[in-house]
Symmetry: C2
Subunit: 403 residues, 2 copies
């Protein structure tokens, strides 16, 4: 008999029929004698609807008020799920972020958890209740409602599991685990049985939408085993994310793709200390999210810097660079659109020579040009034309998994 | 420069266009140099929608969870209204019931306010904010969300005005004040400029839907002047409800009608101490809401008791009486359906002879039969057939106001 935290996302709780499925997973653990804490998101398109109503009022809402607005979505779900469990004669009680409370900093819409008070949850659990918690939300030390930004409910679930010292955290979603690549790109995609936190971090930052990085980071820090499972299958063993790493000793654990990327190259910028800093500070000031950065050292006194931004930031970025071209004092500013990042991820990369060569070979065999290459200890990323990205993913996946 | 509490109901905040109108009333008071606290309801049909979604899950929701669910409606409104004011460069901040906090007892869905902490509201006001408060909701001493039941947002507004010692409480609604009778019945209906709390209590308990009794009671107890005004008119002087009573010295202040009434007469019940008590305790136990009660003393040892119940409680009431006829030991149980209560209300009634006679004359002139008569210091009520009720209201109204 242990304590399990379960998390169900927006599509898993979208309507009453789906809430019925959710109760089956909850009741399954309760009947095994476990204490269960359930974290839920807003139902289906609720948050989108609230945001579109907000946009009727203002495009630049006060973030404090935005959080007051959108946090109602999860509050609706917890009330409904608790009612449904009680209707089935399972005692359940709902708790919002402030009722627990989950104390965060005051950065509205993107707040971070400072600490969680366990007492209220534990009292309700010890009194025999299933505790239903609103994901994505907390309260700051001044009593303001805060929300966590993207992936917020996953974060709530893993943070609660860590704070309550739960046996594990089960993240229920609409796929049956983490796959070696997107199953919509190739039907050769395989479910990963076990993956390390580090690999999962790379996978989720690279376009695998299953889990958000923040929750994996918390899992890693507090050593919370995280299971990714399917809401829509009765028995789902899913994927276990844990400290013990890649138990199957695969070289790579996944191939990911991220579309709508553009590359900007600043050619012949002065090679002076602080120059890169000024450039990226300038972009950060305008909220341009720069992703991959590659800096080449050409001659001694000038260099080239290339970086990627999302396509919808491209025009704004070019405009900012143009307005600051005197400061930058560059020879030329080039850009390239409609690119995709394709990456392979695995703890085996660092220790196994030839992984990069294998990847590049797969692309070469398919005549796919690489616009940029970056590597880390557990990841190799290339930029390719978007219209060739799916072929690239398939070819790389075949190279590493079909043998 | 004073402190004003304004309240806007569901139809006044139904959409963004209507919220724009609401901001005009708020800004008008702010520009006059007033501190403003605004209480709002859920937008339009939001609460109805939440309840119909709830009914998909259960017809008998846990009341605690029901309150968690429906309280989101007002939370959505406060966030939107605060955003809209900030968009117009008026500093505003939203507060839910628990953020203030408004402390209530733990009777979910029908809770009563125990006390209100003024500090948070006052701090925000002193810092130059308009404070936007979610009506209808509070929090109990254990941190559970509670709601107030019908008329809850009016109650929040008047209670806040009392607690903050506001200059007055303006209740904005879709009518321009309190009228001498329902303007849909006769176009002769006149707006009442000033009315006493007592008269307003009688009016609102008698079918005038403008204000709920609870908020009038609080206004009376703490001497809060309440203005009922129209949201949809720029300058609306509305109706003032105050302690100073009927300043215009009208004999009566209003004519009201309440439909769907049935009368039950228990004929020849034993005239014994405790017999009436047993009867009405029996009905209360079954949640039958008994309204007017008339008891006649016939012979020494038996009496007749007549009382009214809502039409939709009639069958249930007759069944209960039938099941307990041995205990009641009555000669006969009669009932009469499709009745309406028609009442006149005014502090002048007690001091002015002939008011009842004038009322009955108006009915007599129109051949309208009275099934029951009850009177109080400030009210005379008669029961008439529902199909004659509108004629009765018109005739009585003409008798007292058209001269």
């Amino acid at each position: 008999m242990g304590l399990i935290v379960q998390k169900f996302g927006g599509s898993s709780v979208a309507n009453t029929q789906k809430l019925e499925l959710v109760t089956e997973h909850i009741i399954y653990e309760v009947e095994k004698g476990n204490k269960v804490v359930v974290v839920v998101s807003a139902q289906g398109k609720t948050t989108d609807r609230l945001i579109s109503e907000e946009e009727e009022i203002t495009k630049t809402p006060l973030k404090r008020e935005h959080d007051v607005l959108v946090s109602t979505g999860e509050q609706i779900t917890i009330a409904k799920l608790s009612m449904l469990l009680n209707e089935k004669n399972y005692r359940a009680v709902s708790l919002t972020g402030w009722q627990i409370p989950i104390i965060t900093n005051s950065e509205f819409s993107n707040s971070r958890i400072k600490y969680i008070h366990n007492e209220t949850v534990e009292e309700y659990l010890n009194a025999g209740n299933i505790v239903i918690v609103a994901g994505f939300q907390g309260v700051d030390e001044n009593g303001n409602i805060t929300t966590f930004g993207r992936g917020g409910s996953d974060t709530t679930a893993v943070a609660l599991a860590a704070s309550l010292k739960a046996e594990r955290c089960d993240i229920y979603t609409d796929v049956d685990g983490v796959f070696t690549t997107d199953p919509r790109i190739t039907d050769k995609a395989k479910k990963i049985k076990t993956i390390s936190y580090e690999e999962m971090l790379e996978l989720s930052s690279m376009g695998a939408k299953v889990l958000h990085n923040r929750c994996v980071e918390i899992g890693k820090k507090y050593n919370v085993p995280i299971y990714v499972k399917s809401t829509f299958e009765k028995i789902s063993d899913g994927t276990l994310i844990t400290n013990s790493g890649n138990l199957e000793d695969l070289v790579i654990n996944g191939v990911t793709k991220d579309d709508y990327i553009s590359r900007i190259t600043i050619v012949g910028i002065e090679n002076k200390i602080g120059r890169s800093y000024e450039l990226f500070k300038l972009l950060a000031k305008h909220n341009i999210n720069v992703d991959v950065i590659v800096q080449s050292f050409g001659e001694h006194i000038i260099k080239d810097i290339a970086f990627t931004v999302k396509m919808n930031d491209l025009d704004k970025t070019l405009k900012i660079l143009d307005e600051n071209k005197e400061m930058l004092n560059a020879k030329e500013i080039l850009h390239c659109e409609n690119l995709s990042k394709v990456s392979i991820i695995g703890v085996g990369i660092a220790n196994k020579p030839g992984v990069a060569a294998d990847m590049f070979e797969a692309l070469y065999e398919n005549n796919i040009n690489m616009h940029m290459i970056t590597t880390s200890e557990i990841k190799i990323t290339v930029l390719v034309n978007s219209n060739e990205a799916d072929i690239a993913v398939k070819a790389i996946h075949q190279k590493f998994f079909d043998n």
